[in-house]
Amino acid sequence: MIPTIWFFYGNKTAQKIKLKNGKLHSLIHYYGLFVLLYSLIPSIFVYIIILVGDDILFSYLINDYIPENIKNSSDYNKVIVMTQIQNILDGIYFGEQPDWVKLAAEKIQHWSNLSLFVNYSLTISISILGGFLGFRKINPDLRSRNSVETIIIYVLGFSSLLAILTTVGIVFSVIFESLRFFAIIPASEFLFGLTWNPQFEGAERAGSGQEGLASYGSVPLFVGTFLISFVALCIAVPIGLYSAIYLSEYASKKERSIFKPLLEILAGIPTVVYGFFAALTVAPMLRSGGTLIGLDVASESALAAGFVMGIMIIPFVSSLSDDVINAVPQSIRDAGYALGSTKNEVVLQVILPAALPGIIGSIILAVSRAIGETMIVVMAAGLAANLSFNPLDAVTTVTAQIVTILVGDQEFESAKTLSAFALALTLIVITLILNFYALHIVKKYREQYE
């Protein structure tokens, strides 16, 4: 609000100067903006720093209020203590809490009131001060437009850095926890172990003598993932590819404008809807169909999940392949026709070989989409990690395990929880490599015809 007042004040002054001198370097409102930015930017910085910083400061300061004997006990956990204190502040606690927790909570309450007060007063005074400094600078020769523009460009550039920040966040959140996981479980066991069974983690920690039962071999998960993706590709590639051929070579303009968006609807349906459809309609159908011809189909078979996932990725194959086929220069087509070839011959013997790299790229993109797909497999595929190549069996996938492990309350520090991060890391690495490769192929192919 204060910056707005400064804005109008700055405008007015600039106007006055203009009337007096008859000449200004920039347009009037740039002087207002100049003062506004001077007032706004430092105060926002201070506000955010205090807002984020005070909690961190408190959690250091509160150490003095935690009794030594608790700090020294073996199951001391800062996070749990902080939660305890926070719960008192929120008024939700059960039973009698120890006195020191109450005292600490009171202290924090006191500090946070103080910090709120300091924050507001500091922010307001800085914004007044900043505005005043900016205001003092106003004179006919001030190149206010240039300064304002530089500041705005910096703000824009800063927001583009956020994309990098996100990536850094993803990488750090996954890598740190993964490293801790690999400190407990050797990477070789994770990458090459043949059994995945983190469920016994709890029993092991309770010391019930069942040590060594939990195992973290991720091979069954990856086999399951690739099995389901393979089933999906068997559905999506032929349908997508032939649709693309029809749409780009045979269909009239009108047909194309109807069918292409219709196919793309398939990619717009939320995955949870596909998952529901797979679990409720497709899986029972396949099961009863299997019984009819004497096959034993698991109710959570890889076939059902893969089938529905295949439907979902049809548009990824068809749209991209369609683009790629269209990018083949018309002259090549014309050359084929001039030799008296039929459409069939031009498509199969000229266009497809020319477009092959691009088509492969689109299929790889579809694969990476299938590997990263979560909801369909969570809802329709099983949770038991069977090492099986039979699509009629129930298998589980990487994403399904990540969700199962991390949903709900999980204990930090346990190998089971950490294993989800290790899985996520491998997932990211695989999808990124696939994408990189696919985009590389497509790019190279495009360059060929440019």
Binding site: Y242, I245, Y246, F259, F276, G372, V378
Partner: protein
Amino acid sequence: MSNNNKNYTLMDAKKAEEIVRSNVKKRRRKDIVLKSIGQFAIFVALSFLVFLFVSIFAKGIPGFFQHYVTLEVNLDQKRLDPKGDLSADSLYSGDARKLVLEALYKEINPKGRKQKKAAKKILSSNAEIRVAQMVLENPSLLGKTIPITFALDDDIDSFLRGYIKRDTPESDRRINNTVIKFVDVLVEKNLVDYKFSDYILSGSASRSPEIAGVKGALIGSILTLFVCFILSFPIGVATAIYLEGFAPKNRITEIIEININNLAAVPSVVFGILGLAIFIGVFGMPRSIPLVGGMVLGIMTLPTIIISSRAAISAVPPSILDAAYGVGASKLQTMFHHVIPLAIPGMLTGTIIGMARALGETAPLLMIGMVAFIVDIPNSIQEPATVLPVQIFMWADFAERMFVNKTSSATIILLVFLILMNGIAIFLRNKLERRW
């Protein structure tokens, strides 16, 4: 060709023509075959689409309806309102349940404890709350005897729909013969209606399918999308403007661009892990709140918005820029006064499509705990909430038969919102976007 150096001998023209002609039919036939395979592929893909929609609508439309019974309830003041002050507290502690049951007994005359126990199963557990709420809204009803419509229990509902068969052995049925007898009496007396459900749109999450609704999830979705929009639209557009207009061509810019493309390819569940580890783990934000959900989805939609906004900006023809520069505008003035107003429809289209994707997204929200069972309807972005797709996911797991219909109904509601958003995007693209 490989046989370049072979010596060709000229074939007799007539013979050559004969060979070609004899093949033409075969070649044409092959052509038709390929064309029909293509048509068939599209037909199969579209029939999957139709199959999906039909199977969801076939189950979802009945989910919008349910069976109700109308009973003459005596709204006795003393028993309904023990404290006599008409406060919510007093009304909810009153004896509404008994009054409703008495009205029911009057219609079906159960005899003995066993039969009464059976009769109690007919009504939804929500019946007394409904009475209390009616009186709370309209105290003048007290003391009167009025007909009130109550939802039937989900098992009775399934029975009336024919999901629970009369001829299954009693021990295999979820409702016994006595209950069926009573229901028959009610149906005979013409007290049972099949009509549009009050609860599906206005109810909140519940374990009882007959009173479960999507209102809480819908509001949670709106709050989450709001946060997502506030975060991703300004940052996305600012990034796009910077990259298209002002970024110097150097290594950092290149890294940013590669980065954005990579982010677009990261599986959505990974963004959930980011939210869990950074927002909840490092910053200590609470679980299950729309604020965190919106931030995660915002980060997820950022690449979509950036990419489409950049396309929209670069689609503005250079002649406009030249004209602006020609009259002495600065680079920033040209951008903000001329390029952005022309590119806004394209930016909005991309944003809406990104939002629609965020609306349907489930996996990252599961990770940050928006899957909790929350009965209260959220009022702010700081209160625990769930969202529509997560609600669908949760309902899909519940065992009660009627939840299948409810889940399909919720799916229809979600699809309607998606179609609406995409419709707006298409409208914007067609009406506002200028072709140069």
